[in-house]
Symmetry: C2
Subunit: 107 residues, 2 copies
């Protein structure tokens, strides 16, 4: 797992937090397919993801319009529907504009 | 683990992604202390956190000034120094303004 390589701000972050249902029920397969599809999405800069109990995925986009386009991709919309049917107990989506970024790496 | 209870946007999100060193070396204790300290920080709205390999913590604040105040708290600054000394291989901080939020919960 790596950091997303993001450019100088501003850019858009979509923070998706979720609580899962029990069991896999096709989740891993669809999740991998969505990662593959997202990687080809114009304007997607990178994705960071972690789960222990609460899941947090942050998807970074060039701008809000790119984020909105990804939300509307037909196969992704179908995955969102399956998410509500099967995989999630609850989720929240927060769309944000990144204004500052800095980092540190062990020398 | 629960969702942060955040108000109507706009508000500020600080997205902290990190890669840990091996071992605990006092991390759990300081981490708990920082959560306790943060809970009393004016303007902090909530925190969401997950780790598997990559760690992602998102702290939500009323505004950028509140986020900056928390960064400057003496005991927190000391924890940041220890973080670079001991606990992290690398981290990134992204400060963002949340402009939209929506959610879903299983009926």
């Amino acid at each position: 797992m790596e950091f997303a390589q993001t450019p100088e701000p501003p850019y858009t972050a979509v923070i998706f937090t979720s609580l899962r249902t029990d069991g896999d029920d096709g989740y891993a397969e669809t999740s991998a397919r969505m990662a593959e599809l997202a990687a080809r999405q114009p304007g997607l800069l990178g994705i960071e993801s972690a789960r222990d109990g609460l899941g947090i995925t942050v998807a970074y986009f060039r701008d809000e319009a790119s984020a909105r386009s990804w939300k509307q991709v037909t196969e992704h919309r179908e995955a969102q529907r399956l998410g509500r049917d099967r995989w999630y107990r609850a989720y929240r989506v927060r769309v944000a504009t990144v204004t500052r970024e800095y980092g540190w790496e062990r020398p």
